[in-house]
């Protein structure tokens, strides 16, 4: 028996008195349906605590008589395994068993579901005021319910004048420093409440969802091509990764595979995006430490990469390339060769930037031992991507769950132990350089042929999820289609949503003036997390 099958057997025997349905839709995907009750939560806790699985996300689906909740897990093993545990709760029952009280990573997922659907989780120390801010939204609005008409504007909500922030620091003279939602020049809107008595941040509390555009709700009722536009555009700085995951889900449902050339080109483009995004994050870090020369050097490289993307793919953020079944347009071989050539220069410049930053003590002083996230903390918050890898959590979907032919490129997973700002910067540099390597190797032996497999039978009444390693970490896109092939439910778990949850770990205990620096080293996107 393979280790994968062992897990299935063990779950079956441990919960033998419960009616479990265990399926293998794919060799690396295990689906467990537990029916009603809290068995799902028990299994989830066991998977995370005993078997080292990572909680990847949660999707709630509304049925007429019950709520169906899917929990998704994956492990770091190579080759890895996806496990989806689903359970139902009758709608008559007011409370759904909470996973967050046992697996902390599920915290924000449940809070989000609470605001989305108006459902309560038993045992979750609810905080409210999450997606729908308390100061504007009255109680009792659940936008994700089917009965809610998303096209109607509700403008007369008014503002609650008596709103005041929830604070947990009770010390004489303590107050909450407010930052945002509009702050600091070019920043996405977030409202930070930094609780303090005047020197160090004792508690950092980011209030997100100022950019909530209800992508998941808007996708409902659209056809696949319409939803693709949303998938691509809800967070443009990682547009390719998102559309990639979306297309994966559709391809899984349609049971097709992109042609080899498209698969390799997707790898190439995804890495180009990662490289650009990481260089942008490095620019942000240099900027936050007010190291203007380094900032403009990184900015120069970022713009060069944007132009390169525009040159080979038409769009600077690679819009309009991914389509279910492959790519909308082929990239000329010449363009790919040119890309490889230019990348050599950029790689060189990046390596030199890294070297110089590593010897600039005024810069290192601001990053080293600042914003520390321990491996343990990162683990129980289920952090992903470079942030997790800087805290010594070696996990990368490209390596553990290779998709689209990543296995051919032997992706190295850079990681560091310290978990401080400098470790995160080093990981960003290492990954950027690794991406450049992958691009060059992909461009070198590009298979020939078509770039798009036509979809014979449009999928209907089906569902699947796609998962890619976006620049910020694992990005999961669930898609349910109805009988007409329209989107019935679209659920996105982007990496920034997960990492924002753990951001406070880094900010707490450090001085105010370190706060923007710590924030920049997390390379978070608000557009991505707010959706």
């Amino acid at each position: 028996m393979t280790p994968r099958e062992l897990i299935a057997t063990e779950i079956r025997s441990r919960w033998s008195e419960f009616p479990l349905t265990v399926e293998w839709p794919a060799p690396d995907r295990l689906r467990i349906d537990v029916g009603e009750g809290s068995t799902a939560v028990d299994i989830a806790e066991w998977l995370v605590d005993e078997r080292g699985f990572v909680f990847a996300g949660m999707a709630v689906r509304e049925h007429r008589r019950y709520w169906r909740i899917h929990y998704l897990f994956y492990d770091h093993g190579i080759p890895g395994l996806w496990i989806q545990v689903s359970s139902d709760t009758s709608r008559e029952q007011p409370l759904i068993p909470s996973l967050a009280s046992r697996v902390h990573a599920a915290d924000w997922h449940e809070r989000e579901a609470e605001d989305h659907f108006g459902i309560l989780f038993e045992g979750h120390p609810r905080l409210g005021d999450f997606v729908l801010h308390d100061e504007e939204w009255p109680e009792g609005i659940s936008p994700m319910r089917k009965s809610f008409d998303a096209s109607e504007r509700i403008l007369s909500r008014g503002t609650r004048p008596d709103w005041s922030p929830r604070r947990i620091l009770q010390e004489p003279g303590a107050f909450a420093m407010t930052v945002g939602p509009i702050y600091g020049g070019l920043s996405e809107p977030v409202h930070f409440l930094l609780e303090t008595t005047g020197e160090n941040v004792v508690r950092a509390f980011p209030r997100l969802f100022f950019k909530y555009r209800a992508i998941e709700k808007r996708a409902e009722g659209l056809d696949v091509n319409g939803a693709l536009l949303l998938a691509e555009r809800f967070s443009a700085t990682t547009a390719f990764a998102s559309s990639f995951a979306f297309c994966q889900a559709v391809e899984t449902m349609a049971d097709i595979e992109a042609p080899p050339r498209a698969r390799t080109l997707r790898v190439l483009l995804a890495e180009l995006e990662r490289l650009r995004r990481h260089v942008g994050s490095i620019r942000g870090i240099c900027g936050s430490t007010a190291l203007a020369v380094a900032e403009s050097r990184a900015g120069y490289l970022e713009e060069e990469l944007l132009r390169l993307s525009g040159e080979i793919g038409g769009h600077r953020y690679l819009f309009g390339l991914n389509v279910p079944g492959g790519l909308a347009a082929d990239l000329a071989d010449g363009a790919c060769r040119l890309l490889a050539e230019r990348l050599a220069e950029i790689e060189h410049a990046l390596a030199s930037l890294r070297r110089m930053l590593g010897t600039t003590s005024s810069f290192l002083d601001r990053l080293e031992e600042v914003g520390v996230v321990t491996s343990e903390e990162a683990g129980y918050h289920g952090l992903v991507g470079p942030v997790a890898r800087a805290s010594n959590i070696v996990c990368d979907l490209r390596a553990a769950h290779p998709y689209s032919g990543y296995e051919r490129f032997a992706v190295a997973v850079p990681h560091e132990e310290e978990g401080d700002g400098y470790a995160r910067l080093r990981v960003l540099f290492d990954e950027a350089l690794e991406s450049a390597r992958i691009i060059r190797s992909a461009a070198r032996d590009l298979p020939s042929g078509a770039v798009r497999t036509p979809i014979e039978r449009a999928p209907r009444n089906a569902w699947a999820f796609g998962a890619v390693e976006a620049p910020g970490g694992a990005s999961i896109h669930w898609l349910w289609l109805d009988e007409e092939g329209r989107v019935e439910r679209y659920r996105i778990v982007p990496p920034s949503f997960v990492n924002w949850h753990g951001f406070h770990l880094a900010a707490e205990g450090f001085a105010f003036q370190d706060f923007p620096i710590i924030l920049s080293t997390f390379a978070l996107s608000v557009a991505e997390s707010d959706r």
């Binding site: 504007e136 100022f210 953020y317 819009f319 991505e528």
Partner: protein, 246 residues
């Protein structure tokens, strides 16, 4: 520290010649479809119907383009069959009809033109517009050389640059920022979302553009508008040149 200086010198001047000369480098713009004449009306209809945002409209065998709605999905270009012709320019910014003819001067008075401070408010964009504005500070564009400066506070701002469709949660902050700006002030809507909501709005939670809330002086189409398009728009709003008048 000396190392930084030497490296910087070694890089040489990378700044674009724009606005003195058009920037020719590849990849500076995603381009826009150009009004195109097709063989017959059916073909024109077919091409126009591909557009998911209604940016194309066919009349006879001609297809007209509403640049304010295009989101660069390339479906009118890359699908099988006839394609729109494409241009890679970027001087797209224009003054909306609502702002002309109200007796309100378009650009700033001459004495404000040489130093315009910009407050950027992200009202729900996808991150691309914001990133393209950030690129303006990169050496290739070097915004400051033209007298434009980004500021973090509305108290110093002359120009409010809004990106995104204006989500509900950002309505109040956006209005507050506008209120807090001293006169004279101008508003620039940057990107398709800020012009009409694009794929995000209007919906129950996101608006259909900045104009619903504030008087917009200059509109910049594009999803996202590339840095040069924003630079062009800045020159329009500061009164240096006139808009594209598409």
């Amino acid at each position: 520290m000396a190392g930084w200086f030497l490296k910087g010198v070694a890089l040489g001047v990378k700044t674009t010649k724009y606005p003195r000369r058009a920037e020719q480098a590849p990849g500076v713009s995603p381009g826009l479809p150009r009004p195109t004449r097709f063989l017959d009306a059916a073909q024109a209809q077919e091409v126009a119907s591909r557009c998911p945002t209604g940016a194309l409209s066919a009349s006879g065998s001609e297809v007209a383009v509403d640049a304010r709605k295009c989101i660069h999905c390339y479906r009118c270009l890359r699908s099988d069959g006839a394609a729109m012709s494409w241009s890679d320019d970027y001087d797209w910014a224009d003054v909306p009809e609502s702002a002309t003819g109200q007796g309100r001067p378009l650009g700033f008075e001459p004495r404000f033109r040489r130093s315009v401070n910009i407050l950027v408010v992200d009202a729900g964009d996808c991150g691309a517009c914001l990133n393209e504005i950030a690129q303006l500070a990169a050496p290739q564009y070097n915004l400051h050389r033209l007298g434009f400066f980004l500021t973090p506070t509305p108290r110093h701002a002359d120009l409010l640059m809004v990106v995104g469709p204006v989500t509900d949660a950002m309505r109040y902050p956006l209005l507050a920022a506008y209120e807090a700006m001293p006169e004279p002030k101008r508003v620039m809507a940057v990107g398709t979302c800020a012009l009409g909501g694009s794929v995000f709005g209007p919906s129950f939670i996101a608006g259909g553009g900045v104009a619903e809330l504030l008087p917009v002086d200059v509109e910049v189409p594009g999803n996202p508008p590339p840095p040069l398009a924003i630079l062009h728009a800045l020159r329009v709003v500061s009164g240096q040149i006139r808009g594209a008048r598409r």
